[in-house]
Symmetry: C2
Subunit: 269 residues, 2 copies
């Protein structure tokens, strides 16, 4: 399975925790981890390469330099990292047809095979939209002219690279950013939603992009089915969305102990 991650130095530790959870709960799989970056040191890269190799997976480092997105509007304050996910198909090997992008602030707590094999022939991506009513309403207003049906979260993104090479227009993305930069809050996610939401296959967020802040909401809308027991045995991806992160001091939440458990395993084994 091909996994895409992008990071800078600040995310090395969370990335290791995420990967640890992925490896532990998918022990029969072989992974190729594509690690996209523009600022990691050789030492950091060696450390990550060793870590990934020691878990039986392959790693390919993709260094992204400034010339990669040379047509991008450069006067804006966004860094070019915002294009990593949107234009990954340009930077990945040509023979790759599919890859699963994963944010570093997630835990993979169950087998990921079913997600990876989802039929996305007719789509550019598969992703989950976060269905909290208020969030949907806010984002619809904000991206009003683009008539999006749902606001997808780009933290877990299954990519159909073949389709993307054919149908994604790099310059259309740059034009969109140029035109809308004053409205963009999460720029890459906003672009994804505004330009491609109709070509995104919807995933069940409770399975594949469970926002850990909304335990009670998920439980209620599922008529108590999605309780802690069901979640631990069925949800594949827990996503620690929002500003408060479980690796930081002062965090608290229902999945704090579980996150710290995986963190301990990542840092000691």
């Amino acid at each position: 399975m091909n996994i895409l991650v992008t990071l800078d130095s600040n995310y090395i530790k969370p990335l290791k925790v995420m990967l640890k959870s992925l490896f532990l709960n998918n022990q029969k799989e072989v992974f190729s981890i594509f690690l996209m970056h523009s600022s990691l040191t050789d030492e950091e890269l060696d450390h990550l390469r060793n870590y990934i190799n020691s878990h039986g997976s392959k790693v390919e480092i993709i260094y992204v330099d400034n010339s990669c997105f040379s047509n991008a509007p450069s006067h804006l304050y966004y860094t070019k990292e915002m294009y990593y996910r949107l234009l990954a198909y340009k930077l990945l090997p040509d023979d790759l047809d599919r890859i699963l992008y994963l944010d570093p602030d997630i835990l993979v707590i169950n087998p990921i095979r079913e997600l990876y094999d989802i039929d996305i022939n007719e789509y550019l991506y598969a992703s989950a939209y976060h269905d909290i009513v208020s969030l949907k309403a806010i984002n619809k207003i904000r991206l009003f002219p683009y008539e999006i049906d749902a606001y997808y979260n780009s933290g877990v993104l299954l990519m159909n690279l073949e389709q993307q090479r054919q149908f994604i227009d790099e310059n259309a993305i740059y034009e969109f950013v140029e035109k809308n930069h004053s409205y963009l809050v999460l720029p890459d996610q906003d672009v994804l939603n505004a330009l491609y939401s109709k070509q995104i296959k919807s995933l069940d967020e409770k399975l594949y992009n469970y926002d850990v802040r909304y335990f009670n909401y998920y439980k209620t809308v599922s008529k108590n089915k999605w309780d802690m027991d069901y979640l631990i045995n069925n949800t594949v991806i827990l996503h620690f969305c929002g500003k408060k992160k479980p690796w930081k001091k002062g965090y608290s939440g229902k999945f704090h102990s579980l996150y710290k458990h995986y963190e301990k395993l990542a840092f000691t084994c």
Copy 2:
């Protein structure tokens, strides 16, 4: 390492979870599990034996019949299970010098070797007392005539069997129960405290008998040292004290997700 557990049918599942956590976090150790019971079926015993053996540990079944505690006051409503821990030394092999009793409602989340090897030459037991102020005050009043210094929790109990064979007087226990039965709330724990608290070596409850209901209390008294990060990396035993148990519907708490994680591992691997 010798581990003592006692159970009836209702506790088979939690016991498996506890043992799973013990095995996973102590992979270099070899355990002999002494399983004391009076009501498990052959099928249940086979199941547990296979489970324990499949994790590389030995198991010894100790069936406790009615003749074991024949002098115990029989007109009281207590079942004879209350004597399992107090009189384990009578039922265990004579050549055993030390054993660690563990309740089934715990998780062992770190190596247990240091606890097991604690010097208890001069003591009957090692145990942690739960230091919540109100709890201590209540129990002191309740067991007032016995001048106990601290109220020990008997859920984690390191036993010096050699000393116990010499110094524990079975009939003194029966007499105490006969005399005080109207005051006893947790009968075996109360006996332990009233008769033997001065011969119990104190353990740090934050390390070896962490009551999961008191996260904020422990954090406060330790001046924020014992936060989730420190706990996951240092606390050895989490104890799910109280009536609300994490394997039951409707439970919620800071360690719910972690418990369910181990439960999943116990039931699937």
